[in-house]
Subunit: 889 residues, 2 copies
């Protein structure tokens, strides 16, 4: 076994060359902080760190710590004994330690901690003798037995608490502190008996056994349910494992010259540069957390213990200078001696993140490039969307939780149909509405636009509701039926979730950033433009290689996106334009046509609408690129469904309702996602592509004249799987476009490219690239086809996959770099080899996801395209990706 | 332009080093034969061949023959003038030529031919002078004008025929031969006028113009509708193009010492070694085809012209010795001189193919290895399935045509439901039944088994009906609704196709090898075991590298497959076992269970059935490998659909019908193919995999004891897309299996492998391979996912793809080597790198397709698995693949 699994705090910094990332990866965040502080000569109770690698090994070995690692642990324990001059389990001067988890990323409260380890029937006397405080020693011992039994063995805490209550009742006292040393001695005996009764063996007196069992318990706690939930929420890989820190105890509860506290070097809410924190005299860490006593602000320490305060202030400054970031520190004071127990980069609000990063630049501590990397792109969301009032939300209890599909908070009155939402909001009946639906469909778009928030029972992160809501920047919680007991009747206008029933008009509040659902009204505060935002984003832009475009198919979204910094439109879906009431009939007529002639008649009705749509868009986008994707969805999405609609359409088409019904039935598909859609429509009905081309080119010509600049239309063919298929549709487009351009007598260029969204397109990208001007990776569909599951249906089984750690994140949210990413990389490479001028981008939902953006930057794509409200996130993530790849190079 | 586009007949053999394949690829089949015969010094009217490459270039150049190629043609024409001593368009001794197509593979009657080219107002006189036959010269001229106008310019033949009829009426004669030279001269004038009226310009007098226009016409005819249909039927790539042969005319119609005929060196129906053929004295080729006069058998030529016959016999023998195969020859006799116009390997029946190949071995002409390559694997079908009586079918007219989904011919009385088919056949009401359905579903299996044939309105070559029918060896025509006017009412028991209505009990005949549908009874003859079959197949087996397994999931199919030479089962689908009436209820109970406990209760009911199924299969297969695939299809396939079924099941499950209906609705999927199926079922409900493992292992233990050999179960996990998913299911299997085996106290090995049928599985095959014992490529699903279309839905648009030459064959029938094949190759390579012991096979429908078999052999797979009746085909195709790859190496 060549890997080193245990490091003294004093070894860590040297071993990893002070590389904080490497240190964190191996020693965990806490271990790395302790090693760094030790290296810097700060007062740290000494100890050692068992690496994250040891945790991984523990799981590999079937949840056992193998003998080599155990030997390593004890070797370091002896080293610690030497350093401290104390002995593990000693009757005179016992070494007591804390055993604490510490993952790469902090997971506060998620894993287990054991304090006062090393106490047994002998060393407790040593502790009493050494401190001259028998009560303290036995209180520590009974706490240790209780904690060990709970954490290591899973014996219920209440069994112990009951005994304390019983004893207090017997003695007629109220508080634990009223129990004296003899009481506590008795309790220790009782506690050990409980342990023995429950475990079938005596409480371990051997501190070595205690230690190994505690380390195992911490390793095990990496896999406990709350840790798993936290990890999934924060996207921390299960493979990482946790490190374990074994550290000499420092007792903040050993008298009035002792205490414990936490502090930040800057205000984590605002970013203001001022030492902030609180502490408790004569207390241990758990007392601060428990909130029984009210802690004092850190500034009061200056009065209580001026020397300690000065020393702490000095250390805080040194730590900030060392880590070049705002620090979050834990400390303990034992008999007037300051001990640092932890330091880490402090968590902060988006506003604080911007301010701290920019201040650190002004202070000369970091470069602008580094500052750009200091803000989590996802955090920008809170600057861009309304949020609940903090105090109000703190008091509210969610009644259920769906998927956090589109961020922001919303509060409004429940409506059950998009038409009613539209009408009621317009009429002022419900000024603020929440649309609650089984699932939304393209026809609902107008209604969705007027609502504060959208709640759906079915559908995932990339369901129709989620995608559209993100596009609009509206709050959306989707798929709440997957993890709650839910029933909905859109007819009867009732929705029940976990026993709470909503009727139309009832108030509901939604948090699209967490997925939480609330009853009643929770006030929201509007998104406020942070004064630092624009400048910070300009730093990001200066460091960005990839362009950031947007997915928009209406003028409002397009304008929003431009305001957010979009450099063009990477995906303008034309089908969304087909649903508006004034044209859906003609669209249906087109679909139900039985002959080319009928279809042409219907298309002629649609064409002026399409042209106007494009003109409106071009007026906003000017000569920025706008990539127009031709008709894509399965035709059935447009079909009339009710008998009335069929009757109406039939009469318009001069056919019987029965005949039309036959047509509708004949268009039924078993798997519409894999059916007659995308460019397959343009192959079977070239006249559709002709109509769309006519509309695009005429619109571009008209608006070019208006704005005095020549627009270059970008036309995108969806769902291509074979070069000849692309070539066929391209030929139709070119023939139509060239004629219009020639007739207009102007010099207009245009580009024809394709989505790469079918595995075969990626696998034959060399051929397709030779014919295309650009590739846009449609990673939504590419993910579906590559994984072989539909995003609409996957919700039913993906939870089981997360529970069993088969997948750790939703592949529709984060690009799967191993499978889907391999196809994207291969297609990018072979496409470019065939055509060095090929432009490459991504327009799936992943285009707004930071980790996916980093990946596509690394494989050299030219742009990402995402929904308007994700544009700033994408700009920042793209900048960070560029910076990271520069560093690597 | 470095490519040589024109070859004299005398140049061809040398230019391509006598490599027949190269010659055919460039010169076409006819050109290659003419070049070879010229090379061998046989009497061939000289000429030259314009290559297939020139045809491709013609299409590339926008349907024009570019000047370089034209120049090349004329250079060779001058060469021909030199050789013949005649001059093109000459008034004294004119050179006349035929211009004939000749593709790599013969496409009889599909493309155009022009005879007597070179005639004009002057050279016709030369011909008259030279032959001393004015009538003959002018008859030739008027024929040429007519043929040129028709073939080259598309002027309707009837315009000319009408004039002939008019003239005959004027003269009061009946037959063309009654028209004299003057009449024909008049006709020429009239014909040229017709030409001019229709074309707006005079009939071209310049033979060079005639030639180039004729060559263009032949090139163009490569893309005519009937050629396209033929090509698709015979899977001839559009890219190949046709060559054009320009050859001096030989006149078989120049008197009684002239004639023309065709002959085979062996009997193409039986393979018997005897010169067979027929000829006509004083006739041209077209007269033989027209069938106006009855030709004489070739043996009579011996009496008519003994010298010519001897010469022909000698040439025939030489040709057979040269090509080492049965030849199909065309010849013309001009004034007692024999001219060979064509020779090619003759088409033959399956029976003849076997006999000729084996006789050639006995005669020492070819090796057994070569013999194995002489039989088209597909041809074996006709030896294995019943066929229509030849005379009866020759007289029958099909009333419609569907997809040739499963070969063989069938005749029976129409029934509209599987249950009724079962009952009526059992009762003897309809001893022979044809099942006619909109589409079949798994519940129909028992009914399908008793029918002679199956006709479906919907569905493609890999629809349920097609797959099941091929498995059973039953005739099936599928998807007849795609290309016919069809209506079906299963309720009213009527089916109408192109105006022909069938009621229950009406007789229908089906040809599953062509897709033809007939009214009434056409007698069939049973499949007869060819006496040569077994020996021939043993030669194939001796040359075969890959194993051939079968797809079977019931004892009957398994026994059939073993009889056909299957070496094991590559795919035993377990779900088919779930549909039988005695267990479907328990299966439904399992699916609709809301808790693990409920599900276990249901599974316990299914388990004994499963175990018995496997025992029955093992009893037939013994210790041959049997790969058992765990539950795979979307659950909805098993669900109760009618209210009655729901009610019944609900009462059995102690729940209300409403509650069960809710469960059924909640199981609805948008895209079931991409939904909750395959190993996803085993992840969400591990108890299903436990039950199946228990059944498999117990069955194997029991039958091992019975047969005294230890069976090694092969367990296959379907639809894996990620190694951790496979590992999870494998862990469940291993845990369950190991316990049973340990409890039984026996030493039984077992293998756990996976389907590779999802693109991501192929892309991560390195990881999965490290954990799996075998990969079985499920190329049906892999094709669906890679192309992004569902085979059930693709029928709606694939025709447009064929028409536009985007795809030339059904990717579900022939493995797409470019896209899907690339994934298979990559997965095979990376899987083996990770695990050198990994066994690799294919079990999709492609496992029985010769071209797909050749591909998977080339990438090193270990076995193919196909439906029982395709086993002999696969054995032969695999042998041919091995031989081909040996040759390449």
């Amino acid at each position: 076994m060549s890997e080193k699994f245990v490091y003294m705090f004093s070894e860590g910094a040297a071993a990893f060359g002070n590389d904080m990332t490497e240190m964190k990866n191996n020693l965990g965040g806490k271990g790395a902080g302790l090693a760094s502080m030790t290296d810097a000569g700060m007062p740290v109770p000494q100890g050692f760190t068992i690496t994250t690698g040891a945790c991984t090994q523990y799981y590999k070995d079937g949840r056992e710590i193998n003998p080599e690692i155990q030997a390593d642990i004890f070797a370091h324990l002896h080293e610690l004994e030497k350093i401290t001059g104390k002995k593990f389990g000693d009757v005179k001067n016992p070494l007591l330690v804390s055993v604490r988890s510490g993952a790469r990323q902090s997971m506060p409260g998620m894993m287990d901690t054991i304090l006062n380890l090393g106490l047994n029937d002998e060393s407790v006397e040593g502790l009493a003798a050494k401190t001259g405080n028998v009560r303290f020693a036995y209180d520590s011992y009974r706490r240790f037995v209780q904690m060990f039994a709970d954490v290591v063995m899973g014996v219920s805490k209440s069994l112990f608490e009951n005994e304390i209550d019983k004893l207090k009742a017997e003695k007629g006292v109220q508080n634990d502190v009223d129990l004296d040393a003899d009481d506590l001695k008795k309790l220790v005996v009782i506690f050990k008996k409980i342990y023995e009764d429950n475990e079938g063996k005596a409480f371990p007196q051997d501190p070595n056994v205690q230690l190994i069992e505690a380390v195992k318990a911490v390793f095990r706690s990496w896999d406990n349910p709350r840790a798993n939930v936290y990890r999934k929420m924060n996207e921390i890989p299960y493979e990482w494992g946790t490190a374990v820190n074994v550290q000499q105890m420092a007792f903040g509860n050993s008298g009035d010259h002792s205490g414990t506290g936490v502090a930040f070097t800057r205000n984590p809410a605002t970013g203001e540069k001022t030492l902030m924190g609180e502490y408790l005299i004569n207390a241990q860490g758990e007392d601060v957390v428990a909130g029984v006593r009210t802690p004092s602000p850190i500034s009061k320490l200056k009065e209580d213990m001026p020397e300690v305060y000065a020393q702490f202030q000095d250390i805080a400054t040194r730590l900030e200078n060392y880590f070049k970031d705002m620090q979050d520190m834990e400390f303990t004071i034992e008999d007037g001696h300051l001990y640092m127990l932890q330091t880490r980069n402090g968590k902060r609000t988006a506003q604080a993140a911007l301010k701290v990063a920019m201040d650190l630049v002004s202070e000369g501590m970091i470069t602008k490039e580094e500052a750009v990397c200091r803000v989590e792109p996802k955090q920008l969301d809170t600057l861009l969307h309304p949020q609940f009032d903090k105090e109000a939300i703190a008091k509210a209890d969610p009644i259920g939780k769906g998927l956090a599909a589109s961020p922001g908070s919303a509060c409004g009155q429940v409506v059950f149909s998009a038409e009613e939402a539209e009408q009621f909001v317009k009429d002022g009946k419900y000024p603020k509405a929440i649309l609650v639906r089984l699932e939304t469909s393209p026809e609902d778009i107008v209604g969705m636009q007027v609502c504060q928030g959208i709640l759906t029972v079915r559908g995932g992160m990339t369901s129709h509701a989620a995608v559209v809501a993100r596009g609009m920047g509206a709050c959306c919680v989707s798929g709440c039926g997957n993890s709650n007991k839910v029933s909905i009747s859109e007819e009867n206008k009732t929705f029940t979730i976990n026993g709470h029933t909503f009727k139309e008009g009832d108030w509901m509040s939604l948090d699209g950033s967490t997925g939480n659902i609330y009853e009643g009204q929770i006030p929201t505060v509007a998104a406020t433009e942070d004064p630092n935002f624009q400048e910070f984003m300009s730093w990001a832009d200066a460091n960005r290689r990839m362009k950031v475009l947007t997915n928009a198919d209406n003028p409002k979204d397009a304008q929003n996106a431009v305001n957010m910094g979009a450099e063009g439109i990477g995906l303008c879906r034309t089908e969304h334009m087909f649903f508006a009431a004034d044209r859906i009939k003609a669209v249906r007529e087109m679909i139900c046509s039985r002959t080319v002639e009928e279809r042409k008649v219907a298309l002629a009705k649609v064409e002026p609408f399409q042209q106007k749509d494009f003109e409106d868009m071009y007026r906003i986008m000017g000569d920025r690129p706008m990539t127009i994707r031709y008709l894509d969805p399965p035709l059935h999405e447009f079909l009339p469904t009710t008998d009335e609609e069929i009757k109406e359409l039939a009469s318009e088409m001069n056919m019987t309702a029965e005949a039309l019904k036959d047509v509708v039935v004949s268009l039924h598909e078993f798997n519409p996602m894999m059916g007659h859609r995308g460019c397959r429509l343009a192959v079977t009905y070239p006249e559709i592509a002709e109509m769309q081309t006519t509309a695009v080119i005429n619109a571009a010509i008209n608006v070019s004249k208006e704005i005095g600049k020549t627009i270059t239309p970008h036309i995108m063919v969806p769902l291509v799987g074979e070069v000849k298929e692309f070539k066929f549709v391209k030929d139709t487009i070119v023939k139509t476009a060239d004629k219009i351009i020639a007739d207009a007598g102007i010099d207009m260029k245009y580009e024809v490219g394709t989505m790469i969204e079918i595995p075969r397109a990626a696998l034959t990208a060399g051929q397709i690239g030779a014919e295309a001007d650009f590739f846009s990776f449609g990673t939504n569909d590419l993910t579906q086809m590559t994984f072989g599951f539909s995003r609409d249906d996957a919700a039913k089984f993906l939870d089981a996959y997360y529970d069993n750690k088969i997948y750790e994140s939703d592949p529709f949210q984060h690009l799967d770099t191993v499978g889907v990413g391999r196809l994207v990389k291969l297609a990018a490479k072979e496409g470019r080899e065939a055509n060095p001028n090929l432009t490459l981008g991504i327009c799936g939902e992943h285009g707004g996801d930071p980790s996916s953006i980093e990946f596509v930057d690394s494989i050299g794509l030219d742009y990402v395209s995402c929904s308007p409200f994700r544009v700033p996130i994408a700009r920042l993530a793209a900048a960070q990706a560029t910076i990271k790849s520069k560093k690597k190079a």
